[in-house]
Structures are given as C-alpha cells and as structure tokens.
C-alpha cells in the first residue's frame, strides 16, 4: 500500500538516510527499529513531507507521491504522531486535538462540540483530563496521549507513531495497543517506533531495522527472535538480551547517613505533604501512574517549584529552597522529563549543553577552559555513545535519544550528592539504557543519593534500592526493593495504601 525506495536524506555533514527502502501493508503494524540516531524519525519526516527528500521514491496505493508538507500528507490519509511532542503548548487540549479540522457550525468553530468530542476521544484513551486545559501545563505523558488522540481521530489510512510510548506506563500502553489493534483490524496500516523490545513484539507484524542511516533488513515478527533483532540493530553479536541488562539491584545502602529528608513538604494544588528520606549511596525509585505527581514531587525537592509547607533537610542543614540554584549549591541535580522545554538549549552545541550546569555553578567569571570543556564533553560522548560524536554539533540537530543523553551528561557531570532523574531514559535505545542503568549503580556505589523516576516500572525495580509509591499526588507507601515484583507495586498503587 505504501512503499519507499532508494530514500536518501542528507543534512549538512551527516547522511541521515542512505538508500533506505520501507513498505507498509494495510491491516499490519510495521515496527521501525534502530538505535538512537539510526534515522527512524528522519524517515518518517521524509515520508510526511516534513523534510524534502534528496533522492528516492515514495508511492502510495501504487501512485508516486511526494508531499510538500505534512498538510498534504494528512490530506492523503497519513496521520502522524512525531517523536517530540509537536503540539502547541499555548492552546487547550481540545484545540490541539482538533485544530485544522475543528467542528464547525454556520462556518464558525463550534466550541462546545469540540470540547465534547475531545473529551470522548480522551476517554477512549483512558485519559480523564479537562479538554479546556492549556496543554503546556500538562505532563509530557499527557501531551503524548493528546498527540495520539489527535492522530487516531482522523479517518486515516496510514497511522505513523514515532515513539508514542516513551513516557507512558504499562496501563496506557495497553490502552494504546488496544486502540491500535482495533485500527489495524479496520485495515489501517500502522508504523510504530519504540525502543521497548517487548512492546514491539507484542504489537507488530513486521519489522524494519535501520542502522546508521542504512537499511539492515525487513523481518516478519514471527520469524525473528528478540536477540536477533537487537543484534541487527546494534550490529554486534549477542548471546542473550541479558547481556545488555545489568543485574537487578537489591536493597543496599544499609545505614549510610541520610542525605535528603522531607517532613510534610508540600505545595497546594500540586502535591500533598509528603515525608521521604534518601540515604547516601541509595537509589530511591518513584512509582506511580500517570499524573500521580512524581514530577511535581521532584520539582519541589529541586526548588523548581517553591514548597509552601513542611521542611526539607539537605545534608546537615534545613533549607528553604527558593530556586534551583539554591538546590544546586547544596549538591542537588535534576534532570527534567521535558528535555525540549526544560532541559536543552537547542541553539548551543553538545559541548556547551553538557558543561552548562557546571559552568553555571562556577559563575560567569570562572570559565572552564575550552580544553577542559572538550575533554569532559568527549568523555560523556564516549560513555553514553552520543551520536554524532561531535562536541560542536548543535543539540537541536541531534536525534531525540541523543538529546536525552546530552541532558543526562550535563547533570552527571556536576557530580551531585543527590541526583534526581525524571524519566532519564525516555527515548533511549536499549544499549545506552543499560549503560545508563549501570552508571547509576556505580554512582550510588560511590555514595551518591539518587531519586529515580520512570514510567517503566521494570526499570524502576531494576535500579532502585527502595521504591516509593505515589497515588493522587501523595506518597502512599515506601518499600525496600526486596523480592518486589511489578505486580506487587501495581497492587499498592491500585489500592492506594501499603500492601
């Protein structure tokens, strides 16, 4: 139904796609796989006309097409969720879903109908939020779901989903897959990108693997094993997938001194007062459902939002954080979930983004020597495998996963005493993810306190010594990670009290 052949796309200095072929069939889910920077998103943008293609052919239903822009692609029945949430933060949720095809009456936009219909659509995705709410104030996960809601509503023939699940938890993923399967059964062709191997195998019928902008191969899901798939992606031999994954943590840290402790810290309208302590050398994972307040909790600890009640002790002194700067000065680092809005400065280079926090702490008068900056940048480029491995590349030009690595590098570099990571592995490929998990373990071993947030419960359980559970913006439980299984945690979440 849709086929692309001989696709080539060059950016200044980088060949992002080189002679790539890709095809889709109605009633099938086709997964596009590859490491960070392999060219998946670029292929999608080439398909929808968001990028001009340098060479190659695209045909839809047998006739050659070349879209001048996403508008045309949409009109031709291709509906897309791009990787970075590409919505308008200043508009309401409902508008983001319907803009461009608002329900109208007598030629004017019918606002009530729009609100009602979007509420309905959101319910279909199990999302209960006010359609009138400004999108920018919603968490990344919600934004991702809104983008999906926007895409699935069109009477499209092709649905393209670029990492739609990167910040969704298991429940939402299940809901999404339900929707996707229905659409597939109605004969829609679906392109799906994800770094979660299990998800890919759970949903897709066919897979295409890219590596370094080149086509590796196309496989039927039933004819390939996860190990082979990963091997195709990373291009090296693997015995088992476990080779990539570090062993699971057990509760440790024992009786090391407490580094951070809150007593009834809270903020009206954001998060209920909570009491939590984190020891040096201990990784505390935060588990909870979408909107349970994990992000809000960690923002309070970092002073990104100001607490209006309770107290916080960092190290030896009780502090009242008025700004992130105050937190940083006391050895706290915070890697935010929304890398685009809160994290990276896209106009600056990889090097500059990496040293930014360190430089901010030193103040403007004591610049890091250029040579030192390069050393630091290079060491993280190597460790986290940032591609392209060029410290002078502009961060805005990097692929999503690589951007995330840069952000992470910035905070690892500051060598904090408490490292807060909000969805640090969002959009990162399995190889690098394992690397990061290993790194966290090492850091903790060296005495760093870590607060770890992830929508992927597995991951939380793998890296943390302790798991704190949130529900309805309150901390409901905290348990040592001994023999914990995802089900046990989910049970706690569901019940809203200690298991």
């Amino acid at each position: 139904m849709l086929s692309m052949t001989g696709i080539r796309k060059e950016f200044p200095g980088v060949v992002a796609l080189d002679d790539v072929a890709f095809r889709m069939f109605p009633g099938e889910v086709h997964a596009l796989m590859g490491e960070n920077g392999a060219g998946k998103s670029t292929l999608i943008k080439v398909l929808t006309g968001a990028y001009h293609v340098d060479a190659g052919n695209i045909s839809l239903n047998g006739s050659a097409v070349r879209f001048a822009g996403p508008l045309q692609a949409q009109q031709a029945g291709i509906s897309t969720v791009y990787q970075e949430v590409n919505l308008c933060p200043n508009l309401s949720v409902a508008e983001n879903i319907f803009i461009g095809r608002e329900p109208r009456r007598l030629g004017r936009i019918h606002w009530t109908a729009m609100k009602n219909r979007s509420a309905e659509l959101l319910r279909r995705l199990d999302l209960d939020i006010d359609p009138g709410r400004e999108l920018g104030s919603c968490s990344i996960a919600v934004q991702q779901l809104v983008a999906i809601a926007r895409a699935v509503d069109v009477s499209a023939r092709v649905l393209v989903l670029d990492e739609p699940t990167s910040s969704l938890d298991a429940d939402e993923v299940a809901t999404l897959f339900g929707v996707v399967r229905t659409l597939r059964d109605q004969g829609m062709a679906i392109l799906f990108v994800s770094h979660f191997i299990e998800q890919v195998f759970a949903i897709s019928d066919r897979m295409t693997v890219l590596r370094n902008g080149k086509l590796v191969g196309e496989y039927r899901a039933s004819e390939i094993t996860p190990v082979d798939l990963v091997r195709a992606m990373i291009g090296r031999e693997l015995a088992t997938l476990d080779e990539l994954e570090p062993p699971r943590r057990r509760s440790g840290a024992g009786q090391a001194p407490v580094f951070a402790a809150t007593v009834d810290l809270g903020r009206k309208g954001n998060i209920e007062p909570f009491t939590l302590d984190i020891r040096e050398g201990e990784v505390v994972g935060l588990a909870g459902l979408l909107g349970s307040g994990r992000t809000e909790l960690v923002r309070l600890l970092f002073g990104a939002d100001r607490a209006d009640q309770g107290s916080l002790r960092l190290g030896e002194s009780t502090v009242h954080l008025r700004s992130p700067r105050a937190a940083i000065a006391r050895g706290v680092a915070f890697c935010p979930e929304n890398r685009k809005a809160d994290g990276l400065v896209e106009d600056l280079t990889v090097r500059e983004n990496i040293v930014l926090a360190l430089q901010a702490r030193r103040g403007w008068a004591r610049p890091l020597p250029r040579r030192r900056q390069e050393e630091l940048a290079r060491s993280f480029i190597d460790r986290l495998r940032i591609r392209p491995a060029d410290p002078e590349a502009l961060v805005g030009n990097l692929s999503g996963g690589n951007q995330q690595k840069v952000l992470l590098a910035r905070w690892l570099l500051t060598e904090p005493r408490l490292l807060i990571l909000d969805e640090p592995t969002r959009g990162i490929d399995i190889g690098a993810k394992a690397e990061i998990q290993k790194l966290i373990a090492e850091l903790a071993e060296d005495g760093m306190a870590v607060l770890f947030v992830s929508a992927e419960l597995e991951e939380v359980l793998r890296v943390s010594h302790q798991v704190a559970v949130l529900r309805d913006r309150a901390v409901v439980d905290r348990m040592p990670n001994e023999g914990l299984t995802p089900d046990m945690v989910l049970h706690t979440i569901a019940k809203g009290e200690a298991a």
Partner: protein
C-alpha cells in the same frame, strides 16, 4: 478568588486600572465626567486602534510589523494625491489605497516566510519603502476638499444622551468585532495562535503555516492602510510625515493589552484596552495642561509604568 481563567487576568486587571484612572480624572478635572471625553478617546484613536488590531494578528504569530506607521502615511498621501491631483472619485480611491496596503503586507509576508528573513528587518525595509513612496508622491502636505471624504469626516454618528461618535470610530469598532470573530471563531484565527505557540509544531500538525503567516502580514498591511484612510478622514489631508513612530504606539497598545510579543497569547479585546490606556494617559495629560514638553514625556513614561506595575501586581495577587 473567583475561578477566573488566568488567561483573562491581565485583561481584567487592565479594565480595573482603566476604571480607576477614569475615576481619578473625573475627580480631578471638571469637564472629565462628560461622557464625550471617553468617546473622544475612541474617536481620536480610531486609526491607531485599527492599526493595532492588525498588529495583534502579526504579534500573535510571533512576528512584528514595523511598517505600519509608514503605510499609514503612504495611505494618507495616496488618498490626497489620487483625489485632489489625479481627480479620481473617492469610491475608487479608497479601494485602491486599501489594496496597496494589503499588497505591501502580502509582499512583506511572502518575503518573511519564503525566504526566512526575520520579520523585523523585512518590515523595517517595508517601513523605509512605504515612507519613501509617500515622499516620492509628495513632500508637501495636501489638503482635501473632496465631497465624500469631507462628508464622512464631518458627519457625526449620534448616540443616545447627546453623545456622538465619528464614522471612523464606528468603522474601528467594526474592525475590532470582525477581528475578534476571525481570531476566535475561524480556522485562520486558531492557526494564528498555533503558529505563535510553536511554528514548527503547527507545521508538523499539518496546519497551513505558509498561507497563514502571509495572510497575517496582509491583514496588518490592510489594517494599516485602513488606518491611513481613517487618518485621512480625521485630518482631511495627506502628509508624508504622518504617523512617524506609530508602529511603536501600536506595538505598545498590543503588548499593554496582555499580548505576548513572542506570540501565542493575547486577545483583540486586550488591544482595545491597550489603546484606551494610551489614549487615557494622553487625555489626562492634556486636561492637566500645566506640564511643559519634557514633563509631558516624563509623565507619559511614569503613567505607563504605573499602569504596567499595577497590572503585574493584580495578576500576581490573583494567582
């Protein structure tokens, strides 16, 4: 606090301050309570209002249009030259002038969008161009005694209570209503907001970014030309030195009205209030009538500051 949508807070704040300033004026100056004083703010600023409404569209997309003042001047000169010197009838002249403004806007919008040049420079070049064209047409100021222009200029629109508006002011009110409708109830309007929120996202969402951006500058050019026509009614003359620096007044009105210069947030109603703020400041100063030239400027600056500080304060408190 009442559950007022935070987006409307700046507007509510501005209304409150405007009221306070008005009450202050009524208490201090005898003739101030005359309802005509308020209406005159509208009558005297009708052209600014129209220009500012056009500017609102542009700023909402995150752009800026510096050419409006010059386009206003060009429009007045064109009106005068075409009627007085070329002898064309007003019914022909006015459409020609409006089309010229729209065309200039269209040109600038196209260059801005298709060649990706910053709006600031393009419209600055447009500003030079329009003023240069006005000079080329005439460096003298030209009086007009065309029947239609005179009639429109001098026919008051009676209101109850012995008050009256001008036809220009009525046109300005219509423009405001049309603009509010466009922005709130049409796809064009919503796309304007979307582009202001994030141009790239708007593009990826499949919105007609190119068309909308060009349209927005066309609207602004049209509004500027219309403002020029209204100014021609107002002064019954054409003068190439008209409206120097008007672009700043227009931008100020838009921004005081709560529209964010980066785009994406704001309302036409805010712009109306912004124009009223500027007009009221001026009226207060004229009524005071004792300030020297420099104290006049200082007072304008200080009152502007007060308005904005109060606005911020109210918004802060309410949050």
């Amino acid at each position: 606090m009442s559950p007022l949508d935070p987006r409307y807070l700046p507007i509510a704040a501005t209304v409150a301050i405007l009221l306070a300033a008005y009450v202050f004026g009524v208490g201090r100056y005898d003739a101030f309570s005359d309802g005509q004083v308020l209406l005159n703010i509208l009558v005297d600023n009708a052209f600014l209002l129209v220009v500012a409404v056009g500017m609102t569209f542009v700023i909402l997309t995150g752009g800026i249009d510096l050419s409006v003042g010059s386009v206003v001047a060009l429009a007045t000169v064109m009106c005068a030259v075409l009627t007085e010197q070329a002898g064309l009838p007003a019914v022909l002249v006015i459409p020609i002038v409006l089309a010229t403004g729209a065309l200039l806007g269209l040109g600038m919008g196209s260059v801005i969008h298709y060649f990706e040049i910053q709006p600031f420079v393009v419209t600055l070049a447009g500003m030079f161009l329009a003023r240069g064209l006005a000079y080329t047409l005439s460096t003298e100021s030209i009086s007009m005694d065309d029947g239609v222009f005179t009639a429109i200029a001098q026919t008051p629109v009676p209101l109850p209570g012995g008050l009256h508006l001008s036809i220009s002011a009525t046109i300005a009110v219509c423009v405001v209503l049309v603009a509010a409708y466009l922005l709130h109830y049409t796809r064009l309007g919503r796309t304007v907001y979307a582009i202001g929120g994030n141009k790239r996202s708007a593009f990826l969402m499949g919105l007609p970014v190119a068309r909308t951006r060009v349209t927005v500058y066309t609207i602004s050019g049209f509004c500027a030309a219309l403002g020029g026509v209204l100014l021609t009614f107002y002064t019954l003359s054409g003068n190439s030195l008209n409206a120097v620096g008007l672009e700043l007044d227009a931008i100020a009105a838009v921004v005081i009205g709560g529209t964010v210069l980066m785009g994406g947030f704001g309302f036409v109603l805010g712009t109306v209030l912004g124009v009223f703020v500027l007009g009221l400041i001026q009226t207060l100063i004229i009524f005071e009538g004792t300030l020297s030239s420099w104290w006049t400027r200082i007072a304008i600056g200080v009152m502007l500051l007060l308005f904005i500080l109060l606005q911020r304060l109210i918004v802060w408190r309410a949050r």
